[in-house]
């Protein structure tokens, strides 16, 4: 079945079984491997992307359900000239990643949270950031979100 999508601003038509999870279309058909496979049940968030601007776990979405929709992956959040998204830059400044495997999803979740709330409260961060990180980078994720949103005073002393 042919399915039309817009991925990172580009219109595409892909041939896929309609039940194939969006994650595997992104990774194997479009070769955008920044979006990761972690659990396949929507529990870890490593596969997080935006579907029409909403944060979504792509391992649980059949590709047919996103026909005609706009998809944004980690490869699509920097500026067209390559300037990093402020959240990506905050991730570097706070030296967040360790193994880095979950961080695409963490960054996508953080960008979505900030877009929605502006300056998220600690409770909003706790509620929104449900992606799993096994290396234990959570305190630095919290710090990076605070610095990215100009809450530098609150970020001091974190971790």
């Amino acid at each position: 079945m042919a399915i039309d999508l817009e991925v990172n601003g580009k219109s595409l038509s892909i041939e896929a079984d309609p039940n194939t999870p969006l994650l595997w279309v992104i990774r194997e058909e479009l070769k955008l491997t920044g979006t990761k496979f972690g659990c396949g049940i929507g529990a870890c968030g490593a596969c997080s992307v935006y579907v029409d601007g909403e944060i979504s776990r792509s391992c649980r979405i059949p590709v047919a359900a996103v026909a005609g929709k706009r998809i944004t992956t980690i490869e699509g959040i920097a500026a067209p000239d390559g300037t990093l998204h402020p959240v990506q830059q905050a991730w570097i400044d706070a030296q967040v990643p360790q193994c880095g495997y979950c961080q695409s999803g963490q960054i996508m979740a953080a960008v979505a949270l900030i877009k929605k709330t502006g300056q998220p409260s600690p409770a909003q961060v706790d509620e929104a950031m449900t992606n799993i990180c096994r290396c234990g980078t959570y305190p630095r994720i919290r710090k990076a979100i605070l610095t990215a949103t100009g809450q530098a005073a609150a970020a001091r002393g974190v971790e």
Partner: protein, 733 residues
Amino acid sequence: MGVKRRAFLIGGAALIGGGLFAVSCSERAATKRAAKLVAKAKAGVFQTWIRIAEDDTVTIFSPHVDFGQGSVTGLAQMAADELDADWAKIVVESAPVNVAFANTPLAKGFGGQMLPFSVPPFLNGIVGSAFAMVARNSPLQVTGGSSTVRATGQMGMRVAGAAARTALITTAAKRLQVPESELTTAKSQVIHAGSGRALRYGELAAEAADMTLSTEPKFKDPKDYRLIGKSIPRLDIPEKVTGSARYGMDVQLPDLRVATIMAAPVRGGKLDSVDPAPALSVKGVEEVIKLDNAVAVVARGYWQALSGLKALLPTFSDGGHAALSSASIAAAQAAKIKTNKPDHKSGHGDAPGAIAASGVKLLEADYGVPFIHHAMMEPFALTAHFSDGKLQLWGGVQDPLHSRKVAAEAAGISTDQVIFHPMMMGGAFGRRLPGSCEIIGQVVQIAKQIPYPVKLIWSREEDVKHGTYRPQASAHLKAALDKNGRIAGWTTDYAQSEDATRETRFVYEVPAFSLRHYAFATNQHDGAWRSVNSNQNGFYTESFMDELALAAGEDPYQFRRKHLKAGSRHLAVLDDVAKRSGWGTPLTPGRGRGIALVESFNTIVAVVIEVSVNDGRPRAHQVFSSVDCGRVVNPDGGAAQIMGGIIMGLSSCVDEAITLERGAVVQSNFHDYPLLKLAEAPDVDVHFLESDASMGGLGEPGVPPTAPALANAIFAATGKRIRQLPFRDKAKI
């Protein structure tokens, strides 16, 4: 320490006009013991390469594979500092398979001398560190054992940097016709202050690399360090925030096929039968491959392979393990300890005698820990391709060298016909160590049967059900307090698969101590889980220490102090954490504070945790940690490691348990094997106390004090002593 000249120039565009320095050195004691263990080893334990190009770019070849510790950056800092190189022009290549290095006499010589199989030279450092770890009685670990910076860095990178710098100075002295003593180095230049002349390293490198290096290079005075001890940003982080970092899961090759697999649910079982038809009728599925104990489906993509696999109804035998459960293991371990016939022991003095003789107060307790899973975020993914009798592999493992050998054996070809391309790892924590990667044999068996490259991906379910877990273990602890409230004697009897009597360290001053291991195997393949045996041993020891403090009527911090030597590093670490955490000051009502002190991998860590317990569930609010690992190479990176270890330690002790029923693992994914999430992650304060002690590791030592500090905090908050992990809702009143 001897330094041999192993320098040579190699042709090829990348190296023309540059110089390549390689240094081989050995740690005498470790080499000697390693020699006994590996039969014919001689010298040349560590291999390190530095390449200086004409444009001053310095490339440091790291023999290690990084899975998130940032150790590659640390190694580069060490080499560059001793070399006095310009950090802006440093490039690190992490274990590349580089044809320029493939056929050097060095590799042949090294391989021929030391190993029953040949070694590509870029891996020699890995071999070396493995030997050193063997020599230290640690498990055979490669990028593991928290050893990268302290072993390869201290003994390889610093020596290579200093030796190369010495050669550059000698070369410059000749060219400038001045004595070496008048020359200094800075930012990749040799400088003659007297005449105001300077030569760039790039101008000197080719000649310098061709000369005999000093056998004992002069190291910098630590006060002159410019890079060691600085929080230099990690080199690998930029590509990890853009999604461009490539892990084993991300391998792309022409005609790539994807496979997924299901092994016998009961470990030890075999594949009895499977009808391949239902899978073959799934669009995109190309092959159903039967292995001895598993069935695999090969398809055009992962989803098709998984759909095909799910359509199958394979039958497996249970290997005779159907009666095994977590409960039966715990009961059998307790019975084994009661036999009083240990398989291994360590300690000092007559502990049972001391307990029997002088006990004013006798205390006994049973502790237990379940199997726990590594749950690295990247499930196993390994790609293999057979062509022209050669086998290529792409993926992330902690020991590419050993993996290469395993692959060759599985393929029935010689090791030199196997090329391993190491990829970045999405976590490892011991899961990707030699002997734990069954996926190597699996993917080779699959690749042998198809003409294309094939990437074998384990589903998360396969990953959870077929782990190489931290062993389930049981322990019986016994101690007596003398009339002054001091420990008179202490015995820890524990049953698990592996002996850890020499690996774990008891830090307290007591007249008699005995650690006794009762060997107990299950059908599971136990593995090294971040911090290995120090993990469960730390939980037993430091929880029981609090129980003894209570029996003695003393504060847990003060009680520990009394059993530590005055002026010792352990006491300094303990005092520091007490001070930073405000030990003894009033807490928010309902909260409790717990303390623990564990030395592992040559690093001492003390932790204080503040906890509240809500409906039986503990919640850590704040963690303070004090760390003495000797010198810290990169404080920010080191702090991240301790923080990560503590968070992972909290996750493991609060929620995690792999349980067995009828010989099979019950859990299958993150819904029933939950990991700690951000909302429950406390802030972690990390403070380093630098000392002159030999360098300790940082990847693992944050873990062991965490569970006991939390257990002790829960006791302080609720009065409930929990001796069985995980804590979960055990503190319910």
